[in-house]
């Protein structure tokens, strides 16, 4: 009887761990998809509506030159840019309950006021779960090594 209880307990523990792992993997995939939607699609297509829904009202961005941008400033930059083409690579997601850290490499090619520019480096984004979705609250871009 005791051994049966032990087996059941181990089985239940494994099941809980397995389902948690599955849920975490699904969340990680969702966050990578959100990163791609935000950076690769919304920025390139100047889709302000999508960016507005992904970024929290208190969102803050620090760029690779140490300049701080609020959500409104970032949306205005995207809107006014001539072109923006983002490339991302090697994304990693770390989950901490309802908080997630996504880091990866980026390359941004674009033009603003007729002047072309290229930026590259590493980004560190912080996401929090709000309601049924996730919103970005902070983003840091650092220059390459």
């Amino acid at each position: 009887m005791k051994s049966l209880a032990c087996i059941l307990l181990i089985a239940c523990t494994c099941l809980v761990a397995y389902s948690q792992e599955g849920a975490d993997r699904a969340t990680q995939s969702k966050l990578i998809a959100l990163e791609r939607i935000g950076k690769l699609q919304a920025c390139q297509n100047k889709d302000i509506k999508t960016l507005d829904s992904i970024l929290d009202e208190d969102f803050v961005h620090v760029d690779e030159q140490g300049a701080v941008m609020t959500k409104a400033q970032l949306l205005s930059f995207v809107q006014s840019a001539d072109t923006l083409i983002f490339l991302t690579d090697a994304m990693i997601v770390k989950l901490h309950g309802d908080t997630a850290i996504v880091t990866g490499l980026f390359q941004l090619k674009g033009a603003a006021r007729g002047k072309p520019f290229t930026k590259q480096g590493r980004f560190v984004d912080t996401w929090i779960r709000k309601g049924n979705g996730w919103v970005a609250i902070a983003s840091l871009s650092t220059p390459p090594v």
């Binding site: 140490g66 901490h96 880091t103 590493r122 912080t126 840091l140 090594v145």
Partner: protein, 147 residues
Amino acid sequence: MRFALYCVLLCVIPAPILAQDSGNSAAETTIRALEREWVEGQSRNDTRVLDLIFDNNLVYVEYGRLVSKGEYLSRIKRDIPLTDTISFEGMTVHVFGNTAIVIGSYQEKQPHDRRHELKRWRFIDTWVYKNRHGWTLVAAGSSPIAH
């Protein structure tokens, strides 16, 4: 009757708001203290303090390179103890429930050709409140401030 209702509303409605505000302010104070503890711990090469502050899954970007908690602590252990190498210029703490973002800038004194070079950095740190651990640093990184 109306007056009594107003009184009840005045007493009840602000309570959660006040509780939230005082909770956020307590979190802010703790996080500011931890930020200073981190800098002081680093200047003393006190990896035991840093081990308590950093989450095991810390994402740390140092000079553009992604380093793990273990790699960061090893580097601190090897360094010569230094004082007054980092001085905060100011920081702002934004609390989002169990998550907090710290944005600020600091000056770093770096030895360069027998002289000290001053470099300014802007940083973003992410803290998460975890049961049994309290506020823990889960991500940190900084960018050099362009002149």
